[in-house]
Structures are given as C-alpha cells and as structure tokens.
C-alpha cells in the first residue's frame, strides 16, 4: 500500500515534469508600423510565451536583465516583466498575457493568425522611432531632386516705376538677375546702388557673401553664416485632435509627410511634428477610413528667428569704406541666445551686449545694452491663438525715452488692434499716442471698421495740446467688388466718401472719392492694374485735401522672351516652371521635336500652377530654399504607356530670385510580367528586387509585374520575413513586353 502510494506520487511528479517541459515553439509574426518580423514564441497548450529579448529589441527598447526580471527601456519608458524561468543565454520567456496587460491596447494578439500587431497610435512605446521617421527630421533639408543649378546667366528682371509728386518726376529702375553663379540686384534712381550676392545655403561657416555699392555711395563687403532657410530643429510639437474613428491622419510640412497615424476607435489622434527655427507651416490631412477625399487644416508653429540653436554661433560682418561691424550670436540653450556686437562708424566705436530669452514657446524677450552710451533697449513679443503683443522700451541713463506697444486680437469675425506709445522728442517734448481700432469681417460680406486716435504733446515751451482723430467705415464685400463708405477726421481734414475695389479677370480697379468739409474740396484716389499676355501695368494717382500731396505713379512689366521680363516688382521672386514632355529617345533631355504635353496636370503642394502658352506649368512667389513636392496626376496622362521618369512624386527646392525650370521626361516603359514557380512558401512573403533597388509585390498566384526602361536587369526574389535571398535571374529587356519565369529551384542561388 505504501509502495503503491509512493509509485503514484512518483508517476504524478514525472507526468507533471513531462507536461511542464512540453513547449511547442511557434513563430509569432510581429507587425509594427513599417515593418514585419518573426519573433520566437512558445505555446504549452494554455499560455503563450514570447522571447522577451527579441520582442523588445524589435519594439525599439534596450533590454536589461535583473535576476528573474527583464527591464525594457527607451528614452521615455521603462517596463519590467517577470521571466517565466531564469534567463538563459540572454533569453527570457515572458507570458504573453503579462505583456498584453502591461502594454494595454497598444498591442493586439491574434491567437488564430499568430500575429502580434502594434497599434500605430501606441503611447507605451515609441512607434515613430520604429518607423524611422526621425530621419526626415534631420537638421538640413533632406535630399531632393533638381538641386540648384548655378549658371553664368540665369535670367533678368527689370522693375520700373515713374512717380510724379510735389518733388517732381522721379523715375526708378531696379534690376534683379541670376548671373555669375549668384544674384545681382541694382537700383537706378536719384542715386544708384548695386549688390552682388553669392549664397551657399548648406554651408556651416559661410552662407552668404555680399558686395556692392550702397545708398550713401560707399562700397562694402558682408559675410555671414546665418542660415538662409530653416535648417535646425527647435522642438517636436505634439498635436492632438479628434476626428472620425479610425481615420488616417497625415502631418505634412512643405509637401513632405512627417508623421502619419490612425485615429483610435474614439477618433482621437496624436501627431508629433518637427518645428524649425522660424515659421513652420503644418498641414494636417484627415481622411476617414473608406472616405474618398482628405480634408486638411493648417497650423503655424512659430519659433523666434532671433533664437540660435544650442551651441551654434552665428556671425555677420560688414566692412565699408568708413565703417565696420561684427555681430555675434551664440545659442546657450534652445530658449536662450546671447548676443554681442562691435561697430565703428566714422571713428565712433560702440559695443552691444544682450540676450534673447523665450521662456515659453509663445513669448520672447530681447534686451541689449549699448556701451559706452549706456542705452538700454528691451523688446517683448507674445503670440497666442488670436492674440499678438509687441512692446518696445528704450531707456538711457535711468530714464525712459520711448515706449511703444502694438497689440492685436481676433475672435470670430472681430479683430481688435491697439497701437500706442510714449516718446521723448527733441527738446524734451513728450508725446503720448493711443490708437485703438476694431474690424468686423462677417462671412456674409459685411465689413466694418472703427478707430479713434488720441495724441497728446507736452513740452517745456508750450501747454499740453491734445488732438483726436477718428474713422468709421462700413461696406459690403462681394465676389468681385468691395464697396465701403467712410467718414474720417484727422489732423488736416474731415472727409466723407466711398472707396472700393473691383477685380476682374485680368484687371483690377481701386477707387476712392470723397468730400473734405473743412476745405470744401474733393479728395480722390484711383489705381488700376491691367494684366495681359504682353505685359502688365499698374497706375496709381492720389489727391488729398491740400493738393500739395497729390501724386501719380505708374509701374509695369513687359514680357520679352523666356528668362528676360520687365516686371512690376523688384523683389527676388522665386518661381518654378514644370515642363512635362514626351521623351521619345528616352535620354532624359528635351530635344528638338520632343514637345511639351500640355494636357498633363500636376499638383504642387502649398502652391498652385498656371498654364503657360508653351504648355508648361508655372508657379510664382515660392519661398526661396523651401522644399516643394510635386505629384503628376496620372489620370491626366492620355497615353497609358507613358510614365514620368521622375516618378509620380518628386520634390525640388526653390531658388532665390530665379525661375527654376524642371524637366519631367515622359517615357515609354516596357511591361514585364513574371511568374515565380516551384513555390515552397506563401507567395505573399516574397518580393521581387530589380537591380537590388526597386521592389515589386508578388501576387497570390506567384505572379508579378514591372514597368521598366529597356536594358539589362537582375531580378532577385527575397523572402521578406526571414530576409532570405531565394533566387536570381538576369534578363535583357528590349522595347517589347516580355514574360519572365523564375523557378525557385532552378534559379536558386
């Protein structure tokens, strides 16, 4: 009896031991946004265990072992799990149920498919790091096609203006050109100036060199390393929102998708977007799951341009005939910049020392002290949604000289503006100015404006005098016409009248007419702008109460030939011209006889195109050095065999002061259909590499399809799960479609 009992206990122990040791190894497919990976897992009939080290490495964690515990760490998270047994060989089995309870709904385990799927909106681990999106937030603008091409001669713009006023007739001409691998700007009027600039936007120590003759007739040279465009990341901003459940959300900056998530079941989402020094314009696109079109909204992220990235030094140096100046800025912290300057003008030397502080992202304070004059300047800027405030204080010797304030706020159709200041003028005269203004822009088209001005002057020789001014205007804004009636009183006149703006397709007319009741004379202004295919003309005339401030001016442009135009404005306009042409000989260049295909449309994110007579697409007023993304609209291509050699999407960087011509060759591609035979695994695991670069998916039946240019190619079959290279085949592709068969046994490597 006793022996039987011992035998039973022994059998139960052996059975239990044997049962505990039966662990069936199963492959678990881990799906995280952007990649898939197999992770070792085990199943004992009741619970699933997973290899903690493999799993947490795959999720982007650093793994540490502490006794029978596994610690998973990343920059923001720390998770501790108990190993099912003592770790062996840096391996630790973790119960999947522990893992799922630890990560909440960030991980989903499909027991039937043996899939562990990570949510793209997980907050318990860094999904974005896994997607390697950080690489798009590099300090300098990322790689792009169509880099800047420097030329000896890249076009010329001539702006002109003729003004007639009380001082006589004054012509003015400004030339802006892209020549000698840089840009030249020159003005000819009462005096003349010219400046030549050579820029190196990617350089660290010298971004721009400038030399020329300036307004006072002095010649000089300037150098700087201040970035010409946004280059440095200041912070990462988290944007939270709510939309339709499971909607797809994209954050787009300059046409580049910087983050993409899917809203959760309640429609909540959280985007992380980079914010550069300066202004970052962010577009959030929302597309409901199953929805056809995405909607978008804009956000603007501001970072004071006066702040310098940490540990960076910016300098600018100017040397002229009778003066020199050196400015230095050093980023001590991402919110604190130290600055100093030394200058000498006509033998007078001055040193400046100061700092710029941004304690919160919507406020910046700058202060500087001038030596030896002991003049102290302080500036405070604040901006919040719908509210802006600028203040400026100037003091010397412990006494305030000037203080100015500008504040604006807007809410719905109302906007409020307040300008005011206190100044100390020559002869110890003091002036106090207050100028509040309110605007109403109603959606129905109603416009209203009301302002009141207060000006008080006080001095040692005169009594304090106070004057008031006011203006009230009300009108209506239609699609093409804006008409406003006004009544105003200022220091010289009291007038009643009406003003308006009429916009037609190629012309616009701005007019104003009123009656000055003080002087019993009419006041008027008239502006007209006409645009045609041969040029444009802008003319403006004005007459006010006293007659002596009357003025007339005209300016315009004449289009001569591509690259040379007389334009009405002298700023450095950046533009792009997209020439989509049929590349018959497939050499990538537009040869004679290869015509522009005028029916093909393209989308330019954050800007728009106009169609030129040549059939090319043209976009003006681009931001220099900014990266723009283009999408060729496939539905507009009439010939199904034509494909853009640039790909359907590409980007370019706008050049300052010149028109960038972008050629998009449309080429005939050859259709290659293929079939993989002797399959030993599911075809969906396979991909086809073309010369180890482009990838093509494999269909359920083992087929694949490619469109390529004629040439010799190597087709490689890989398994995406275990990254095995399975087979390889070289093919010669001519101008006719071909069919390729790759046998996993015969063509196996």
């Amino acid at each position: 009896m006793r022996k039987r009992g011992l035998t039973t206990i022994l059998l139960m122990f052996v059975l239990r031991l044997a049962t505990a040791q039966v662990l069936m190894e199963v492959p678990l497919l881990l799906e995280v946004p952007g990649k898939e990976q197999m992770v070792r897992a085990w199943y004992d009939g009741e619970i699933f265990l997973v290899d903690g080290r493999e799993l947490f490495y795959a999720l982007g964690f650093t793994v540490q072992f502490q006794g029978a515990q596994l610690k998973a760490l990343d920059a923001r998270h720390q998770h501790v799990f108990a190993c099912a047994s003592l770790p062996q060989g840096n391996s630790c089995k973790i119960a999947l149920s522990d893992l799922l309870s630890g990560f909440g709904n960030a991980l989903h385990f499909d027991r039937n498919r043996l899939e562990l799927r990570a949510s793209s909106v997980a907050s318990t681990f860094n999904v974005r790091a896994l997607r390697e999106r950080q690489s798009s937030w590099i300090e300098a603008p990322g790689p792009h096609l169509f880099d800047r091409t420097r030329t000896m001669w890249g076009g010329l713009m001539v702006s002109w203006q003729v003004r007639h006023d009380a001082f006589g007739v004054r012509p003015y001409i400004q030339l802006t050109g892209s020549v000698l691998h840089g840009t030249v700007g020159a003005t000819i009027g009462d005096d003349y100036t010219w400046v030549y600039r050579y820029d190196r936007p990617r350089s660290k120590w010298l971004t721009q060199v400038e030399a020329g003759r300036y307004t006072n007739g002095s010649t000089g040279l300037s150098i700087t390393n201040v970035p010409l465009a946004r280059q440095h990341l200041q912070r990462v901003r988290t944007i939270q929102g709510r939309t339709a459940p499971h909607a797809l959300i994209q954050a787009v900056i300059s046409g580049e998708v910087v983050d993409q998530v899917q809203a959760d079941a309640e429609g909540r989402y959280e985007l992380q977007t980079p914010v550069w020094y300066g202004t970052t314009k962010l577009e959030v696109r929302t597309q409901p799951l199953g929805g056809i079109r995405a909607t978008s909204e804009l956000h603007y992220q501001f970072t004071p341009t006066s702040l310098v990235p940490p540990k960076k030094v910016y300098y600018s140096a100017h040397v002229k005939e009778d003066a020199y100046a050196l400015n230095l800025q050093y980023g001590l912290h991402e919110r604190l910049t130290l600055r100093g300057a030394l200058s000498q003008v006509q033998g007078h030397t001055e040193a400046v020392s100061g700092l710029t502080l941004s304690p919160v992202v919507f406020l910046v304070l700058s202060t500087q002290l001038h030596l030896p004059s002991m003049r102290w300047l302080t500036m405070l800027r604040m901006w919040r949604s719908g509210l802006r405030l600028n203040t400026y204080v100037d003091a010397q010797g412990g006494e305030f000289f000037n203080a100015n304030i500008t504040a604006s706020a807007s809410k719905g159709p109302f906007s409020l503006l307040l300008r005011g200041g206190r100044s100390v003028l020559v002869g110890r005269y003091r002036s106090l100015i207050l100028y509040p203004e309110i605007w109403l822009h109603h959606r129905t088209g109603l416009l209203m404006q009301a302002n009141w001005g207060f000006d008080r002057l006080q001095g040692p020789l005169v009594q304090a005098t106070t004057s008031h001014s006011w203006r009230f205007a009300a009108g209506w804004s239609f699609a093409r016409l804006r008409l406003v009636a006004y009544a105003e009183r200022n220091y010289t006149q009291q007038a009643y009248g009406a003003e308006g703006l009429l916009t037609l397709r190629h012309k616009s007319l701005a007019f104003g007419a009123g009656w000055d009741v003080n002087h019993q004379i009419p006041v008027a202004s008239l502006s007209i702008q006409i645009t045609s295919s041969f040029g444009s003309l802008f003319a403006h005339g004005r007459r006010d109460a006293h007659g002596f401030t009357h003025s007339q001016q005209a300016q315009g442009s004449i289009h001569l030939w591509p690259g040379v135009a007389l334009t009405p404005s002298g700023h450095q306009e950046s533009a792009a011209e997209l020439r989509i042409f049929e590349d018959i000989n497939a050499n990538g260049k537009q040869d004679s006889g290869e015509r522009i295909l005028p029916h093909i449309d393209a989308q330019l994110y954050q800007s728009g195109w106009t169609r030129l007579k040549t059939g090319a697409l043209y976009s003006a007023h681009l931001e220099p050095y900014q990266r723009y993304q283009v999408r060729i609209l496939e539905a507009s291509i009439r010939d199904p065999s034509l494909h853009p050699a640039t790909g359907w999407d590409f980007s370019f960087t706008a050049d300052p002061g010149r028109r960038k011509v972008i050629h998009v060759p449309m080429q005939q591609l050859v259709h290659v259909t293929g079939q993989i035979t002797a399959l030993d695994r599911a075809p969906l695991r396979l991909k086809v590499l073309l010369n180890n670069e482009e990838r093509a998916e494999v269909y359920r039946d083992g087929g694949f399809a490619l469109q390529v240019r004629p040439g010799r190619y190597t087709l490689t079959i890989i398994d995406v799960l275990d990254q095995d290279v399975l087979a390889e085949k070289s093919v010669e592709i001519g101008t006719e479609p071909i069919r390729v068969t790759i046998d996993l046994e015969e063509d196996r490597l």
């Binding site: 492959p27 799951l289 539905a635 199904p640 599911a682 075809p683 969906l684 399809a705």
Partner: protein
C-alpha cells in the same frame, strides 16, 4: 458562340464587399468616349481595411437581357464592334492596400466607323496577411474572386440607333419592355411612355444588344396602346457625348 452569364448584382452595383474587409469600387461605372477624346481613366478605390489584388482585362461582350434576366454576355455584342483589339490600358494588375487608389488609364487606337464596346473586368481577390506557416497551395488556392464589370464604349463617327420594342408585361404601376438594338450604334438615354400625347412614365437605359426595361408609370395603361419616345439624357453621360448619340425614332406599341 460562347455565352457566360454572371449575376446582375455585380454589374450594376460596381462596388462590393469581399470577405468582410476588402471593398473595391470602380468609377466611373461606364465610359463612353469618341474619336475626339479617345482616352480616359477608371479609378479603383479600396475602401476596405484589407489589401486586395486586382487583375484588369478587357473582354468583348455586352450587358444584355433575355425575357427574364439581364447579365454580362461575353464574346457577343450584336452589331457593336470589338473594342478589345484597339484599346490599350495600364496597368493590367495592381495591389491596392486598404484605402489605396489606382488609376487605370486607357487609350483607343484607330477604329473603323461605328460603335464599339469592351467590357473592362476588374477581378478582385483579397490579399490577406502574411502567415509564416501557410502552405503555398493553400495560400494561392483559398480565395474568392469578385468581378466588377464596367462597359467601355467607343463611338467613331455618329449615327442613330435602331431600336425595336415589345411589351412583356403591363401592371398598374409598371410597364415591362424588351428593347432590341439592330444597328452599330448603342442607345444610352431616356425612354418616355406616352399615351395620347400625355407622358405616363420615363426610365433610363443603355441598350447595347437587348435590354429589359422596367418603366414606372403613374397611371394604368388601360388602352394597351402607347408611344415610346427617346432622348439622350442619361445619368453621368457628358453633354458632348449626348450630342453625338442620335435619338431613335419613336415606336408605337400595342398589346
């Protein structure tokens, strides 16, 4: 003559739900092009949450009716010409991820005078997940293929469709007609039912060869004698195409 009949539901709806997760739609549901603009595009959109594989082909045929059913008929389209020899399209295969969109462009090359037709077939197959242990034969075999069909009609020149009609059934609310086309020009437009000059009902139909048409009428046609008048107003048909399509002469019907 080979005739294949598929259910009408997959023709008319042109958007289907497969395996619960993948849903493909094709727009436009049909296309009529002319020698002035001999090109166009279909847009495929996967509104589901699973990826799909789509195989695209052009087959000669038409949507036609017998006395009781309407279905896709392949390899026969009456006097309409075979457009498949003259149409080039791209791509012929694609993979659409969830929410993905694909444009299928087509162009018609030189075609003889008359109306021509091709049925664009979009065969959709769920792509499914990558599973490590899946056997190749199972992976390739276990799948349901859904076919969407969009007629592509090409008109070279212009002409007037020749139609005949007979009444299949007349109820107080509906008039059931059987229309037959006897010429090389298809009819796409409205059919109006008139009795003594008064309109009793109207319906739109595309008649390539034969077509059952059900016209709702608001009054019982007791006299058993009506006149059919035709127009070219057809939902989704551009006005430029409506101008090319001729209006058949009216038909007097008694039963």
């Amino acid at each position: 003559m080979v005739r294949s009949f598929l259910v009408l539901s997959i023709i008319g709806i042109l958007a289907c739900q497969a395996y619960g997760q993948a849903a493909l739609s094709v727009t436009p549901a049909y296309a009529v092009v002319t020698n002035e603009v001999p090109y166009g595009a279909f847009t495929l959109y996967n509104a589901g949450t699973e990826g799909v594989e789509v195989t695209i082909s052009a087959r000669y045929g038409a949507i036609a009716s017998t006395d009781s059913t309407t279905a896709v008929v392949l390899d026969e389209a009456g006097q309409l010409g075979d457009l498949t020899k003259h149409v080039t399209f791209f791509p012929d295969r694609c993979i659409l991820p969830a929410g993905g969109e694909q444009i299928v462009r087509y162009r018609i090359n030189t075609v003889p005078e008359g109306g021509h037709i091709a049925l664009m077939h979009f065969a959709m197959q769920e792509r499914g997940a990558i599973v490590n242990g899946q056997v190749p034969a199972v992976a390739t075999g276990l799948s349901i293929v859904y076919n969407l069909v969009a007629p592509l009609v090409y008109l070279q020149g212009s002409g007037i469709p020749i139609l005949t009609a007979r009444v299949l059934e007349s109820t107080p609310n509906t008039l059931h007609l059987y229309l037959e086309s006897h010429g090389p020009w298809p009819f796409l437009g409205g059919i109006r039912v008139l009795q003594d000059g008064q309109q009793f009902g109207r319906a739109e139909a595309a008649v390539y060869t034969t077509r059952l048409v059900r016209i709702p009428v608001h009054q019982d046609l007791e006299k058993r004698r009506v006149q059919l008048q035709f127009d070219t107003e057809y939902t989704g048909l551009p006005r430029s195409i409506q101008r090319i399509l001729g209006v058949p002469s009216s038909i007097e019907l008694t039963w």
